[in-house]
């Protein structure tokens, strides 16, 4: 990691700052929205913790119902998308508007804004795709927002091993799981749509430059926040 003070000076973008906050208004607006989103997800996660640990009956064991390796891969995808997003930000801050450019003496090409933002969009879309696939599989096995569907494979497993599958708390498990992951998936979908919009209306026509890349910084903040929330959700919902 580089020296913090030196980095801080060089990272200050050349945009007019609002008096008081010290940053431009679009960025301030995004931070205020993210602060409100912190409360939104706290309400969801807090409710989950209270409901789960308030139960006297056992909750489903980690990995009994949910496919953890698949979701771990999805977590990896989202982390990769966060890195590509910050690389897109760094590229345009350095004035690199291009897709890929050869570097003399090196095999790998240098990625510009067009390349890194496209990587982010693809990773984000893949995350949503994997989540939809996971939902379809879970519904197929009988795990629904109302709990274990009668006559399904999971309902039979829950009857055979009520402690491992949390037979008595299945309905609560289903509703909290689909609410939290569903709202997060909605956030990711909104992020992908926003980035697609930016890609076709601003990035491809090269409207961003090293002098003005506010849109990329603001959508980047949103995207990293979505990644941050998933890091917490993955641990609380899938691993604990």
């Amino acid at each position: 990691m580089t020296h913090a003070t030196h980095t801080a000076d060089l990272m200050r973008p050349p945009f007019p700052a609002e008096p008081g906050a010290g940053v431009y208004s679009n960025k301030l607006g995004m931070w205020v929205f993210l602060a409100s989103d912190v409360m939104f997800f706290t309400a969801l996660i807090g409710s989950y913790i209270i409901l789960r640990f308030g139960m006297t009956e056992p909750w489903s064991a980690p990995g009994a119902v949910l496919n953890v390796p698949l979701t771990a891969f999805n977590t990896f995808l989202l982390i990769c998308s966060s890195v590509s997003m910050v690389k897109a930000y760094a590229a345009i801050a350095d004035g690199k508007k291009y897709f890929l450019r050869p570097v003399p003496g090196k095999i790998l090409r240098d990625g510009g804004l067009k390349f890194w933002l496209l990587v982010t969009i693809i990773c984000g879309a893949m995350f949503v795709g994997v989540q939809v696939f996971e939902y379809i599989k879970l519904f197929g096995h009988g795990f629904t927002p109302a709990g274990y569907r009668e006559g399904s494979t999971l309902a039979e497993h829950a009857l055979a091993d009520p402690v491992k599958y949390g037979a008595a708390t299945g309905a609560m498990y289903g509703s909290t799981f689909f609410t939290m992951t569903g709202f997060h998936g909605f956030h990711v979908t909104c992020g992908v749509i926003s980035m697609l919009y930016l890609y076709f209306t601003k990035v491809l026509p090269e409207k961003y430059s090293a002098q003005d890349y506010r849109g990329i910084e603001v959508i980047g903040l949103y995207w990293h926040f979505v990644d941050l929330v998933w890091i917490i959700l993955f641990t609380i919902v899938y691993l604990i």
Binding site: L10, M11, A21, G22, A35, V83, V86, A210
Partner: protein
């Protein structure tokens, strides 16, 4: 077109940290024989560590003015109060 190379955090290194911490998390959750209470503490600690890496380096919170950091920090005690007071509520 002129390009100016700025000095920034090593984003790839942060990505490696996040990847390694995720592998440790999954490994600790499924391959270890740590008592449940300790396991929860370890997993929450690792999740907070990862979240901090994202907030500080990818969201550049480490390099932002304090006035902006406060905006992000203000809801956290409120969130803590929300959860704790609800948990303390008598049925």
């Amino acid at each position: 077109m002129t390009t100016t190379a700025h000095v920034r955090p090593n984003y790839i290194l942060i990505w490696v940290y996040l990847f390694v911490l995720t592998v440790i998390e999954v490994g600790a959750a499924f391959l270890s024989h740590i008592p449940k209470q300790w396991l929860i503490l370890i997993l929450v600690f690792l999740a907070i560590w990862k979240a901090l890496l994202v907030a500080l380096y990818f969201m550049h919170l480490k390099f932002e003015p304090w006035r902006l950091r406060v905006i992000f920090l203000v809801p956290l005690p409120l969130a803590f109060i929300l959860v704790v007071t609800t948990m303390m509520e008598k049925p």
